[in-house]
């Protein structure tokens, strides 16, 4: 593999450039996935059957904490990529580690939130609204969970192999994924929770 040293490490080989473009296209598909979930959510949001409405079950406190945790983690991973660009492996690993911890915190609060919903009688089978609510949030949560495992693998690889064109490429792609999850969450926060509580 030819390495072009004039470019950042993550772009430095032909395969790396292909990987990044391919991942952007994948994110296009992910936008369609979440777009479809949102469209279904808005179709079903008032179809509550005998179950509760969003305004009755949403709690602002855990949602705000989740939002702060995820937004911060997205900022921190940006710092991590900056550290990677200037070749500071240790700082990069610390920033990535903090990102993952914040992500785990987000997930913890989301699990609490789900338990709360089931507790107040808004389970998966209650109504079309609760089903699409839990599916939309759950799909995002599953992406975060997947991201946590993925991130741990990347940290292990960087620890073992250092910052190579390959590991840098993986880390950069992971950061794109993480930012994307953040963007999806902003939509969930605005159009599911805020709109639902108004």
């Amino acid at each position: 593999m030819k390495i072009d040293h004039s470019l950042p490490l993550e772009y430095s080989t032909d395969q790396n450039k292909l990987n990044i473009l391919g991942f952007w296209i994948f994110l296009g598909a992910e936008i369609m996935l979440f777009g479809t979930l949102f469209a279904s959510y808005f179709t079903l949001v008032d179809r509550t059957g005998t179950g509760p409405t969003g305004a009755e079950i949403f709690e602002i406190a855990p949602v705000l904490i989740e939002t702060i945790l995820l937004l911060t983690s997205s900022f921190i991973i940006g710092l991590g990529i900056h550290a990677m660009r200037i070749g500071n492996k240790k700082a990069m690993m610390i920033f990535f580690g903090i990102t993952l911890l914040l992500g785990a915190g987000f997930l913890g609060f989301e699990i609490y939130e789900f338990v709360h919903y089931v507790h107040v009688g808004a389970g998966l089978q209650t109504s079309a609204f609760t089903a699409i609510l839990l599916t939309t949030l759950g799909t995002h949560g599953a992406h975060v969970t997947f991201g946590l495992i993925w991130g741990i693998f990347i940290l292990l690889q960087i620890k073992k192999r250092g910052l190579t064109p390959e590991t840098a490429n993986k880390s950069f792609i992971f950061s794109l994924y993480w930012h994307f999850l953040d963007v999806v969450w902003i939509f969930i926060f605005s159009f599911v929770y805020l709109k639902g509580m108004m």
Binding site: G22, I25, A29, T36, L37, S40, G51, Q125, A128, I149
Partner: protein
């Protein structure tokens, strides 16, 4: 006992028992054959673990042909059942299962792999690349498709086939009305193969955008590559919608959620909308590459460049946009009101415009050309009038008010078969014949090929033209029998004869493959058709690395200009070539995905969880793997090239 009764077919019949025996014997024969000829190692090393886009293309092709015969057997049974009034060959439940699986198999597991076969095989060659952007992912795509296909096919003998139509409309497809696990199979088979298709989409777009030979700008790409690019962009935007719809349908069936039920707020129309938001673009995913194939063939055998290159590209882009704006025409009668119907009626009719542009471009290419009638060309010429009949009846269906008459009748069935068979199937058979020498190094027999082309196209007309009449007369689709007084008998008998004729045509193609494998000359050079684009600039069959030297092109017809204007395609000396290593992981992941799907179909939670973990373990192993591929040395390239040239 309860455990085993879940796997039993709910509506067994002699046909199913006979099929079980046939499947069992075939499996034993294949295993015994492989063992006897000691081919297990060869199979594993050269095929199952391959990441070579050409071999993956050939595996797609074989799968597509097998599925063509599976779907064809369903079709023959349906036509036989309807051939005479009040026939007792099949009962209502079997008829439901057969039309459901016929639709799924033909669209998802025959037409899709057929276009994937040609895309995989041809696109990297046409753009002068060594492979696709992500060879491993490509292998995984194939094995996911294959796992999905096998999952749907075993439904026939384990647990029962899907019986709610290929559209699987809820609430019919819900637990209430569709009690067997058939629809679970549908959900998981489509989900798994859909994942594979999405990955192919990403892979192909990246390949086409980034790996073109020097000098090949976007507007110098051959037309098949353009059509593949557009089709793959549609894939990336359409398939996630199906993913979500299937996820919701699966949850309704397995976890008793209320997405598509008619109680607790569920909305059955949501399924119809989501399904067709994917389903309508899907038909353009199939037809655009087929159009690309026709463009290549018509230009090659008219001995001139394609008329209106830019308008061809433009119309494909317009078709791709419109394809997302027409889905409601699949349910004009389901009550969304006059305004909505009108809008979708107009967008649907609008698609006829760019399609018409393409038809005229082909006619103009033929008009000024020196036409050579070969088998692929014969299919292309037969396609033009036949497809136009299908297209024009499509515009008839697009009139939403008139659709209240046609809806759910045989008229519709006739329309989409008259579009898809000449549009997609003829194109794929033409492409198969055209690229056969590139794939295998010998040509298919022209005489048998032309007879098959005539038999298939005449039979298509015989099979489907009567349905326009019986449909307008009111014969509903999906109806398993009818009384004599309706007068549908004669039309259906003609249809049956046509279907039988098509079966003979396809059997002729199989015979042609057998005959040509035995008797055809292996001494055909690299360019037997006197073609125009880059894929014919390398040897037959293509060496592993495609091109010993990456070609440099100045137009969309690189090879033609090299032949006629003396452009030099290959400049410079051999250099060592970097190639990816083979890998068993994609095949193993495909197998695990199959087991994963099977477990969830039957709600076997423990194997379900274990296989889920297995999938993630495979991904983790892949992530940690250090695999930098290998190099083919200059000496090896020289040896291969000398040997290949000697074969001329």
């Amino acid at each position: 006992m309860d455990f085993f009764s879940r796997f039993a077919v709910p509506h067994p019949s002699p046909a199913i028992y006979a099929s079980m025996v046939a499947i069992g014997l075939t499996v034993i024969a294949v295993i015994a054959g492989l063992t006897y000829f000691k081919k297990w190692g060869y199979l594993w090393r050269e095929w199952l673990t391959t990441v070579d886009h050409k071999r993956i293309g050939i595996m797609y092709l074989i799968s597509a042909l097998i599925m063509l015969f599976r779907g064809g057997a369903d079709a023959i049974m349906m036509r036989a059942q309807l051939a005479v009034p009040e026939n007792k060959l099949l009962d209502a439940q079997h008829y439901n299962e057969i039309f459901s699986t016929h639709g799924v198999v033909m669209i998802i597991f025959m037409a899709m792999p057929f276009i994937m076969a040609l895309m995989n095989f041809v696109v990297p060659l046409q753009i002068g690349a060594r492979d696709v952007a992500f060879p491993r992912l490509n292998a995984l795509s194939f094995w996911l498709f294959f796992a999905g296909a096998m999952l749907l096919n075993i439904s026939f003998v384990v647990g029962g086939s899907p019986d709610a139509g290929w559209t699987s409309y809820f609430p019919l497809a819900g637990n209430e009305f569709s009690e067997s696990v058939g629809t679970n199979y549908y959900m998981f088979a489509l989900q798994i193969s859909g994942l594979g298709t999405l990955m192919t989409g990403i892979n192909m777009i990246t390949t086409i955008l980034k790996m073109r030979a020097p000098g090949m700008t976007m507007m110098k790409m051959p037309m098949f590559t353009w059509s593949s690019l557009v089709a793959n962009i549609i894939i990336v935007f359409a398939f996630p919608v199906l993913t979500v719809a299937l996820l919701m349908g699966t949850m309704d069936r397995l976890f008793a959620t209320n997405f598509f039920t008619t109680s607790n707020g569920g909305m059955d129309m949501l399924w119809a909308n989501l399904f067709w938001v994917w389903g309508h673009p899907e038909v353009y995913i199939l037809i655009l590459p087929a159009f690309g194939i026709y463009s290549e063939i018509i230009s090659t055998f008219s001995k001139r460049n394609l008329y209106g290159y830019k308008s061809m590209v433009g119309s494909m882009v317009i078709i791709s946009l419109l394809s997302f704006l027409v889905w409601t025409h699949h349910f004009f009668t389901m009550g969304q009101g006059a305004l909505t119907n009108s809008i979708f009626s107009i967008t649907t009719m609008a698609i006829a415009v760019p399609t018409g542009v393409k038809i005229f471009n082909w006619l103009f290419t033929l008009w000024k050309g020196k036409i050579v009638i070969t088998t692929p060309m014969l299919y292309s010429i037969l396609f033009l009038p036949t497809f136009t009949i299908g297209g024009v009846t499509g515009v008839m269906l697009a009139m939403s008010a008139a659709d209240y008459q046609y809806h759910n009748t045989m008229f519709l069935v006739a329309h989409f078969h008259m579009v898809i068979i000449p549009g997609v199937v003829f194109a794929m058979l033409a492409g198969l014949t055209y690229y056969w020498p590139k794939m295998f190094g010998f040509m298919l027999n022209e005489k048998i090929g032309k007879i098959a082309a005539w038999v298939i196209s005449i039979s298509t007309l015989v099979a489907f033209m009567p349905m326009f009449f019986s449909g307008l007369d009111g014969q509903a689709r999906r109806m398993y029998t009818y009384s004599e007084s309706t007068g549908f008998g004669i039309w259906n008998m003609i249809s049956f004869i046509g279907a039988f004729g098509m079966a003979i045509g396809f059997a002729l193609i199989v015979y042609n493959i057998y005959y040509s494998t035995r008797y055809a000359s292996r001494d055909i050079g690299s360019d037997p058709w006197d073609a125009r684009s880059l894929e014919w600039a390398t040897h037959n069959p293509v060496p592993e690395y495609n091109f010993a030297i990456i070609p440099q092109v100045e137009s969309s017809e690189g090879l033609w200009d090299a032949k006629k204007k003396g452009h030099v395609l290959f400049k410079g000396d051999y250099e060592k070539i970097h190639m990816p290593n083979n890998s068993g992981v994609p095949f193993i992941m495909g197998a695990i995905f199959f087991a994963w799907g099977f477990s969830f179909v039957f709600g076997l939670w423990i194997p379900g969880i274990l296989t889920t973990i297995g999938i993630f373990v495979c991904m983790a192993l892949r992530s940690f793997e250090k695999d930098h591929g290998r190099y083919i040395s200059v000496k090896e390239i020289e040896e291969t090239e000398t040997k290949m040239r000697g074969a001329k």
